[in-house]
Subunit: 205 residues, 2 copies
């Protein structure tokens, strides 16, 4: 068994603003359960940002070339810039046996699912829409129209619910519980027979 | 959410003699993670055995009727008696929200998978065939021909490897680890979006 280099697993995690997603993911990354993949962007580096660490900073021409060559697992355009996930960087981490987590909104997640059939997708949700609204308001920083737009968006995104393999509910003050649930998903996925066919081949050696 | 009565999950667990299966399962049942389902048999009760607790003791006529009516999730004949899993008892436990574990050999497991598409199947294996042989010999109670027959049987059963959803390796002195892996599988399975579509319906109520 030890002679087999275990390939890492790719996790796609989505969740609306107010789902608690960022807090949960940060906890998992800090604990070493997953690594992030570095995204590519065409926007200019901000002071202190390092190429290859914070982002791969590339030109628009380069980014469009990568899209054409199928080198982006997903991408999106915001205002005047492109943002996306380079396939090669993810593949390299997986080959090194690292479990990679992509924190990604629904449209990007659907693109990755199309390209990486082996990926495990998780949707993080608050218990219900009332709780979601409460959390968005409690930030105290957003104007009403933004809150309404976010609720509307969460509503629209619900039609992709069953595209995700798993759904994790982030109850109030239960970040650890949600993180543990994602750890259980990771462990279970690594035990799938389809991911361990080498056992079938090596058992009687 | 609390208004929705959660249906229990059905787990099928198989593993060759010497896999450590019985020790692991006993640990999980004792800890309350799963309940067993009571089997039916046509053999006579032994002293102390209670009908409906140890087995449902039924006549051969009754057992064959149940088979004909499709009431057995699986069954097998050993020597002159029938043994099997009555569907109704399992369904009742699942409806009560209990997670039911069927400890069952490969042929029976395949029958249950056919009938219960929602069931989660787990194959418990020792690390390799040398370890399996060592464990069978260490019992010190079995004659050589029985050991050889068991190894041969394990070999034959390997062709059903990929029919199981998960494979858990029971390393020496790692019963707790294997039990934890099965707990992780249980948790992950309960988080599958396909098992939680009620969230989609109730989120915006």
């Amino acid at each position: 068994m030890s002679s087999v280099k275990r390939r890492g697993l790719l996790f796609i995690v989505s969740g609306p603003a107010g789902s608690g997603k960022t807090t949960i993911i940060t906890k998992l990354i800090d604990a070493g359960d997953f690594v992030f993949s570095v995204s590519a962007t065409t926007r200019a580096p901000r002071p202190g940002e390092v190429d290859g660490v914070d982002y791969f900073f590339v030109t628009k021409e380069d980014f469009k070339d990568r899209i054409r060559r199928g080198e982006m697992l997903e991408y999106a355009q915001y205002v005047d810039n492109y943002y996306g996930t380079p396939r090669r960087a993810v593949e390299k981490q997986l080959e090194e046996g690292k479990d990679v987590l992509l924190d990604i909104e629904v449209q990007g997640a659907l693109q990755v699912m199309q390209q990486m059939k082996d990926a495990v997708s998780i949707l993080i949700l608050p218990p219900n829409s009332k709780e979601l609204e409460k959390r968005l308001r409690s930030r105290g920083t957003e104007i009403e129209s933004v809150i309404q737009a976010r609720l509307e968006r969460a509503h629209l995104e619900f039609k992709y619910f069953t595209q995700y393999n798993y759904v994790v509910i982030s109850k109030d003050n239960c970040v650890d519980e949600a993180a543990d649930e994602i750890r259980a998903i990771k462990k279970a996925e690594s035990l799938k027979s389809s991911r361990n066919t080498y056992i079938k081949e090596s058992f009687f050696e």
